[in-house]
């Protein structure tokens, strides 16, 4: 049955699907308490095995987000021993977070020592050399927040690294890297663009998430 894209408002939606979408989002982001409460309210089955893991993942994620990279690494090693070994990029990013923290705390000597010990071994591969140089250049400035590489000290950067770490841990446990909600929004964006191109002015009934949320 081919549905006219303009009649999207009339499609049936299964409640169970929506429950799963919400669950997937909550699990992905380690909202354990919310998940438990949602499960009991909605009267659905709790995904049994993931509770304890969620707690651990949550701690790892928050350590990374706070810039406490060494702790994040320690916990990750404990939880999934060979993850960082098989994921050099991620390992490097986490170590660089620690370096960034030392820089922010103006502990330059310590930062230099840490870099020489932990970061330079990555220098055998060309793709890391440039990244190392980016970080090293932070050392040259007395106010690194005003230097050309200031974004390496930002919350956004830490967020990105923490997200990556989270996704890799999920993947390692054979869980999806991206929550259903994320994928849906990505898909909806693409579909909207494509429909806009196809139907142009006709499509003013197209769904806009942005508008919907702003109401």
């Amino acid at each position: 049955m081919d549905v006219d894209p303009r009649q999207w408002e009339n499609i049936d939606v299964n409640d169970k699907d929506i429950h799963n979408i919400v669950l997937s989002y909550l699990v992905h982001n380690c909202f354990k308490d919310t998940m438990e409460s949602f499960v009991s309210c909605a009267g659905i089955e709790q995904p049994a095995d993931h509770l304890e893991d969620m707690e651990k993942r949550k701690r790892i994620f928050h350590s990374a987000l706070d810039g406490d990279a060494l702790k994040a690494i320690e916990l990750t090693e404990e939880f999934t021993p060979d993850l960082l070994e098989n994921n050099k990029d991620l390992h490097f990013d986490l170590l660089s977070l620690h370096f960034a923290k030392l820089i922010c705390l103006r502990k330059c000597t310590e930062a230099l020592g840490f870099a020489q010990l932990k970061l330079t071994p990555f220098g055998t591969m060309q793709k890391y050399v440039e990244k190392i140089e980016d970080f090293m250049s932070l050392l040259a400035y007395e106010e690194p927040e005003k230097s050309p590489m200031f974004h390496l000290l930002s919350l956004e950067y830490r967020q990105r690294v923490a997200d990556n770490l989270n996704r890799e841990i999920l993947a390692h446990a054979n869980l999806p890297r991206y929550s259903a909600a994320e994928r849906l929004i990505q898909q909806a964006t693409v579909v909207r663009q494509s429909l806009n191109q196809e139907f142009g002015k006709d499509g003013n009934q197209l769904f806009s998430l942005k508008d919907f949320l702003e109401r």
């Binding site: 220098g123 090293m136 040259a140 007395e142």
Partner: protein
């Protein structure tokens, strides 16, 4: 001395006193008066020093500058005492004392002091001071790193270099040197000599950064003299000999005698119009082709005489173009819209015949690696072949017309053909890039200079145009004077450093121009028919060959002082009929 003005230029002063000098030579009693006034004059310069005083008849040479570069030259040559004496006597110092202090501080490695002194020099704007400070502090940084004082180096970087807020990319590089020391280009060991050398290099760099009035460039006087010599050489319209050094005592000017202008030999082997000839790269052979469908390889003997080496029969049509392989071991010949043949030069054997069914070849040329051959074809395409006869590639489209010239640049990357009657195509065959040269008149032929930077284009409106094809294409010069309105004539570069242009002409003469000045230097007569092609021996700037409709080839050279027995009888002209 009455009438002499103290602040007039020195030359005026001397002139006025010439009357007194005249008195000197006549040995009259004026003498004492004259010498007294002369020494008075001599003693005066110190007092009446003006910053803008000039020397020389043109009034463009500032005296202060001249004295300073002479002083610098004296010091460069090692004559320290004389240099110091000159500074004293003239009252003009080579460098101000501040600058001297600055330079000494650099050599001593007193970085912070030198940066401070830098600010005291004056005559500079902020930007230059910053650049110079940056460079000095870089040296400080590297010397600290070398001495394993990493934290000090880091401190310099953070507190002195980065705050200058210039060249962030370099700051980034410097910070990476802290962890990746092997990249350190300076590589100064704790060896004192190496350190001094590196500091001297820094001084050189600073001298380039700072305005030239602050630090005089080293050996500036010698540089100026060399410039003058270069100009003289370029202006010398007949310069065709590397023998004879240039003297500083007189302006350089060659006589006409070093340009080939005498017929030394007439080669009569062909039985019809000779259309094309070219010397091999090593200048040991000459290849010629004629409308009698024959190609001949001649040998240039050690004494300069040209004799027949091989006759190469086989073509069914006249050969319009010949190309020597880069190693001169093989010859490529192309019949007009016929086949292309590859010959072995030593044996005279035909090694391969290239044919393309239903089509004929127009032009041919070797790739610089000697492993591939390019050719223009009658269907306007260009093909590339390997030595075994396989067509490796073919570029279709309007790439070439019926004109037989094909040029390949030295790097092998560009092919040059005439793609339309008035347009030349520079075709980058790998990159598929195309550059065009548009002429307003019909193009007949072209020649590529040895360095592949210039193209000489012969046109039917009696002009030869010289184009610069390196980078942006530009018309550089035009050569006129010869007759060219009907036939296919070819011109060439030649002489020492390819300083000359030669061309045939419909009035049976060979024309030679001086490339830089564009001046017509020689017209050589002797042929009795249109001169179709000329070739200048690449390794002997005194030998030129010309091919003519009168069935002969003439070898031109310079007047030889000693002629042997035969020459005296035949007026110094050798006739060569394929054997002695």
């Amino acid at each position: 001395m009455g009438g002499v003005e103290d602040d007039g230029p020195p030359s005026k002063r001397v002139k006025v006193s010439s009357g007194a000098l005249g008195g000197l030579s006549k040995g009259t009693s004026h003498r004492e008066q004259a010498s007294c006034s002369l020494s008075d004059l001599m003693a005066q310069p110190l007092a009446s020093q003006g910053k803008d005083e000039v020397v020389g008849s043109k009034g463009v040479v500032k005296k202060v500058e001249l004295v300073r570069i002479i002083a610098e030259a004296l010091y460069s040559l090692g004559y320290k005492n004389t240099g110091a004496h000159l500074e004293e006597e003239s009252g003009i110092t080579l460098q101000s004392s501040v600058v001297n202090l600055f330079m000494q501080q650099i050599l001593d490695g007193k970085w912070d002091d030198s940066v401070a002194t830098l600010h005291k020099i004056g005559l500079m704007d902020e930007a230059i001071i910053k650049l110079a400070s940056f460079v000095i502090l870089e040296q400080k940084f590297f010397e600290l790193l070398d001495g394993e004082k990493v934290m000090d180096a880091l401190k310099t970087l953070r507190t002195e270099i980065a705050p200058l807020c210039i060249n962030n990319d370099r700051v980034r590089e410097l910070s990476s040197y802290i962890v990746f020391p092997s990249q350190n280009v300076l590589d100064i060991s704790s060896d004192k000599e190496a350190r001094l050398k590196s500091r001297k290099k820094l001084l050189e760099e600073l001298q380039k950064l700072l305005p030239s009035t602050v630090i005089i460039p080293e050996r500036r006087l010698v540089h100026l003299v060399e410039q003058a010599l270069d100009l003289q050489r370029d202006a010398c319209r007949f310069h065709n000999s590397s023998v004879g050094e240039m003297s500083l005592f007189t302006d350089h000017q060659c006589g006409k005698d070093k340009i080939p202008s005498q017929t030394l030999q007439i080669l009569k082997e062909h039985s019809d119009e000779v259309w094309f000839l070219q010397f091999s790269h090593n200048g040991k052979y000459l290849a010629s082709s004629s409308s009698d469908c024959l190609v001949i390889i001649w040998e240039v003997k050690l004494d300069g005489r040209v004799s027949l080496k091989h006759r190469l029969p086989g073509h069914q049509k006249p050969v319009s173009y010949i190309s020597w392989s880069p190693d001169d071991a093989q010859l490529l010949t192309c019949g007009v819209e016929e086949a292309m043949r590859r010959w072995d030069v030593t044996s005279g054997e035909c090694l391969y015949i290239y044919e393309k069914s239903g089509l004929g070849f127009i032009s041919c040329g070797w790739a610089p690696d000697g492993k591939r051959i390019f050719s223009g074809v009658t269907d306007k395409s260009i093909s590339m072949w390997d030595l075994d006869g396989r067509e490796v590639e073919c570029w279709k489209g309007q790439r070439t017309t019926r004109i037989s010239d094909l040029g390949i640049t030295r790097d092998g990357k560009q092919l040059i053909t005439v793609c339309k009657e008035t347009t030349i195509l520079l075709f980058g065959w790998e990159s598929q890039s195309e550059k065009l040269i548009e002429e307003g008149q019909n193009i007949v032929s072209f020649a590529l200079s040895e360095d592949s930077k210039f193209l000489l284009v012969s046109l039917l409106n009696q002009e030869i145009h010289l184009w610069n094809i390196e980078g942006a294409i530009k018309l550089v010069a035009k050569f006129k004077g010869h007759k060219h309105s009907r036939f296919v004539l070819k011109s060439c570069f030649g002489g020492l450093d390819q300083a000359f242009i030669a061309s045939g002409s419909e009035d049976s003469q060979v024309y030679i121009w001086h490339r830089i000045s564009g001046e017509l230097v020689f017209t050589l007569s002797g042929h009795s028919g249109a001169v179709n092609c000329v070739s200048w021996n690449p390794t002997n700037p005194h030998m030129l060959a010309s091919a003519s409709d009168d069935h002969t080839i003439r070898i031109w050279g310079i007047n030889r002082v000693s002629l042997d027995h035969d020459d005296r009888h035949s007026n110094g002209i050798h006739y060569c009929n394929g054997g002695t």
